[in-house]
Subunit: 144 residues, 2 copies
DNA sequence: CTCAGATAGACAACTAGGTTGTCTGATCGT
DNA sequence: ACGATCAGACAACCTAGTTGTCTATCTGAG
């Protein structure tokens, strides 16, 4: 028995996240994107969404720019992003998502959305909205 | 804009988990338990809850017994558990939570429960039950 | 116009938390 | 009584992050 309801809630949150990610990663692997991890998928989505260099990506993901640079190096090796020098700022390397990268993020987003939709079918759409609102409160983590 | 509602849900789940854990870890640090991570707290709770050796702990936490053994080594170094040979089975090293360990799990559980209670006050107790039930469905991850 | 300070990125060393594989020794079931 | 299973130790490795240091470049206030 996991006697603390609070700890049980935390376990549930992590379990739900892990279940979603595991299924998305498995689907990506089946559809021609082996070796993609949740970190890589989220990073690529952030790049596609406007994080155009390593520093910006680090800020967006809440990690150091060095960590972001490592993730970018992996994404580049796997052919998901392309880096080129910014003619307007010699310090920057501007990131561009490749067509293979767009394929990967499209599959990832579609699978995440499908999981959410199936879950919505199971628990009811009104519950989904309630859960998401309640989770936002919890994630906000207002300190005493 | 994080345009995929599914990915946004996953981010929300992880964000809620991280917010809870960060506050519990900060509280543990303030109350005389610096250096305690979420992994250590969850492992110690599982040991206290009956996972009496490394293999059992690994099974309980869903990790390899080698990973569990490393966590136990850290817990032992920090004075949270004590290992001794099982007179009935010479292969086993039986785990026992020390009094300092009991102090740590008590603080951790209290803080997790307090966070859940404050959240319950904010969103309403009936929502909490709905969210937990819905999360259990999601975490179950029924495959297509 | 200059120069101090902020910023982008590269490189290195380190940590946490996990993995797989191999090995020894102890126990259990048929 | 012996083969299969199980507990644990040890090693090598991986991912994803950290901090610190360094250089090059850009920017804004005097």
């Amino acid at each position: 028995m996991d006697s603390s309801p609070g700890a049980r809630l935390a376990t549930l949150l992590l379990g739900a996240f892990d279940a979603m990610v595991a299924q998305v990663v498995a689907d990506l692997e089946e559809r021609g994107h082996p070796g993609v991890t949740a970190t890589l998928e989220f990073a690529l989505a952030a790049i596609a969404d406007g994080a155009q260099d390593a520093s910006a990506l680090g800020r967006r993901l809440g990690v150091s720019k060095q960590a972001a640079a490592k993730t970018i190096a992996t994404l580049e090796q796997l052919g998901y992003v392309h880096r080129e020098s910014d003619p307007k700022d010699a310090r920057r390397k501007v990131l561009a998502v490749t067509s293979r990268g767009r394929d990967m993020t499209a599959i990832g987003a579609a699978r995440f959305d499908e999981l959410r939709r199936r879950w919505s079918d199971a628990v009811g759409p009104e519950r989904v909205a309630q859960v998401e609102a309640a989770l936002a409160v919890l994630a906000d983590g207002e300190r005493p």
